[in-house]
């Protein structure tokens, strides 16, 4: 089996004395769609921030593509940062630029491509997420679902191997949300991308996830890993099955 693309070893995340995650370890295989699940405050976003290098772990390591993000600095770290894409919860598109300029920005900063080439690459990324005709719009004039797709196009700009998505279906209607799921699946298959998706939207967990990784607040770590259907039907821990049955008490 090939080297996992993401490897997390004994990661401990704390803000001051407040430990959010303790001694967490897991791996993600190349081409896998992993969803990170759990109730509010369980540390999903904290884990994501550590995976993408926004926060520095209290202890432990994060390896992306065989390189240790936590120990690397300078130019090499810039390389690692360019090797994955992140689409934030609210899109985080730069409001002062058009959608096209948003997608062209990483290309301008991280590659030597000339302006016409950058524009072609960026327009094609927008075509892939179905926003080609909105290239010249300001982000503010797009709907919520479109903003998220534009954010994915921007995250895809440098052809990353890994794409991190933070709550992609938050605030979307079921139809838009399922369209977004379909897009994630199509990209995962066509571009052989690895996805790490933080979500608590049950429908999209079942639609896209190869594996779910469930965090718990009391446990300060992972309480379950596995196929979503298995977690729902066969997991011994009532906290897990309850989550999948929308909080109904299991009898």
């Amino acid at each position: 089996m090939s080297e996992p693309i993401i490897r997390v070893e004994n990661l401990t995340c704390a803000y001051g004395d407040n430990v959010v995650l303790r001694d967490v370890s897991f791996e993600v295989a190349r081409g896998e769609v992993l969803t990170v699940l759990g109730g509010s405050g369980c540390g999903k976003s904290t884990l994501l921030k550590h995976l993408i290098g926004l926060e520095h772990p209290t202890a432990g390591q994060v390896w992306l593509n065989g390189r240790e993000l936590t120990a690397t600095g300078g130019e090499a770290r810039r390389d690692i940062l360019a090797s994955f894409g992140v689409a934030y919860q609210a899109g985080a598109l730069f409001g002062s630029m058009s959608v096209l300029e948003n997608v062209m920005l990483p290309l301008a900063e991280h590659t030597q491509l000339d302006a016409p080439a950058r524009e072609i690459v960026a327009r094609l990324k927008l075509r892939e997420v179905g926003l080609e005709q909105y290239a010249d719009y300001a982000p503010a004039n797009l709907s919520g679902g479109m903003q998220k797709r534009a954010a994915i196009a921007r995250a895809l700009a440098l052809d990353p191997a890994i794409l991190f998505l933070d709550e992609p279906s938050a605030g979307l209607d079921p139809i838009t949300s399922s369209e977004l799921d379909a897009l994630i699946l199509r990209l995962a298959r066509a571009l052989h991308l690895t996805f790490v998706v933080v979500t608590h939207e049950l429908a999209s967990i079942f639609a896209i996830a190869d594996r779910g990784l469930m965090l718990d607040k009391q446990e300060q770590g992972i309480i379950a890993v596995g196929k979503p259907a298995d977690l729902r039907d066969h997991h011994p821990d009532p906290r897990v099955t309850r989550f999948f049955r929308r909080g109904e008490e299991t009898v």
Partner: protein, 357 residues
């Protein structure tokens, strides 16, 4: 190994890695080489990612045919719909000069009407508050007064003191030629009280407070907090605007008064260097600057403060969406505030001249 491109008549041979680095080196050459007759031999391409696929897409759009692309890269290219040209919307033609002037004038008129409407609304709300003073949010008003007034004391002290010192120095030297340095106190005192202290304080208020109002209310607008207030049945005018208008309209004269005293002290301090004791300067000013000078200065400060707060709140409430809109609102609150000061000060000068005040 990076990417290479070789031309052999109408044949273009691509080889190596078609990634961001590789494409950056050959894209220009590929663009120049590709034409309707070209065939692109891609059988030696060892790697191709999305950017490489975009290069191939560009070549196809220029009429070239791609041959020999490895099986594993084909889906990447197919994903891009290579037969479908890019959709590039036409950029609208820039408008003519006449149309631009028209648009500018229409925009200006719209904005003026907006300001007048806002002042009207604020007046109506103020009237309602005057009849039911308990509806005023006193805590908020005092908080704004503290941040616009008390917190501004250090900067006002600095500017006013320097203003007094500079004025005294600059006028004492020529006045001395006539042995009239005693009257420098009168000159500085009068110009501070009637003109400079209200104006400088108001400029500081526009920069500190007006812009802050616009940014604060603008951010609330962007976060839909204003919508939340409105739907809760709380009038943003009463809830946000009036406390600010009242706070600034009242603190502006107080700050002005403070600036006058500090400025006069600075001037008197300079005059001690010209052998005029502090007490003499004080009595000179007392004898020369009368109550009406003093009151017109404070009246101006009141109007300036009201104007700055109005513009700051209005710009905040009219903020568009996004981070840049908040910045634009803060800037325009500052600029419009200062323009308003200059215009209002000019009008005051004319009015006072005809009234003989």
């Amino acid at each position: 190994m990076s990417a290479t491109l070789q031309r052999d008549g109408a044949r273009i041979v691509l080889s190596g890695r078609l990634d961001a680095t590789g494409c950056a080196t050959i894209w220009q050459a590929a663009r120049d080489a590709a034409s309707k007759e070209s065939t692109v031999d891609a059988s030696d391409v060892s790697y191709c990612d999305g950017i490489g696929a975009a290069l191939l897409f560009d070549l196809i759009q220029r009429g070239a045919r791609i041959e020999g692309l490895a099986e594993r890269f084909a889906p990447l290219l197919a994903e891009l719909d290579p037969d479908q040209p890019l959709l590039i919307p036409e950029t609208p033609k820039p408008e003519g000069r006449l149309a631009a002037i028209g648009h500018f004038a229409a925009g200006w008129w719209r904005e003026t009407r907006d300001v007048i409407g806002f002042i009207g609304e604020a007046t109506v709300s103020s009237w309602a508050i005057l009849r039911r003073p308990r509806e005023l949010r006193l805590g908020e008003t005092l908080r704004v007064a503290a941040s616009a007034g008390a917190d501004a004391l250090p900067i006002v002290s600095l500017i006013a003191f320097l203003l007094g010192v500079i004025l005294a120095f600059q006028s004492a030297i020529p006045m001395r030629q006539f042995g009239a340095e005693l009257f420098v106190a009168n000159l500085v005192g009068l110009s501070l009280v009637r003109e400079l202290a209200p104006l400088m304080t108001a400029v500081l208020l526009a920069g500190r407070t007006g812009a802050a109002f616009a940014a604060e209310i603008g951010t609330m607008k962007v976060n839909q907090e204003i919508d939340a207030l409105t739907t809760m049945g709380l009038d943003p005018m009463r809830f946000l605007v009036l406390p600010r208008l009242i706070a600034v309209a009242l603190t502006a004269p107080l700050l002005t008064l403070y600036a006058e005293l500090v400025g006069m002290f600075g001037a008197a301090l300079v005059l001690t260097g010209f052998d005029i004791p502090l007490a003499t300067s004080a009595s000179q000013i007392q004898g020369f600057v009368n109550l009406s000078d003093f009151l017109t200065g404070l009246g101006k400060a009141f109007v300036f403060g009201l104007g700055i707060a109005t513009i700051g709140c209005l710009r905040g409430l009219r903020t568009g969406s996004g981070a840049r809109a908040v910045g634009a609102s803060a800037t325009s609150a500052d600029v419009q505030g200062i323009v308003m000061l200059v215009v209002a000060d000019g009008l005051f000068a004319i009015a006072f001249y005809y009234l003989g005040w």
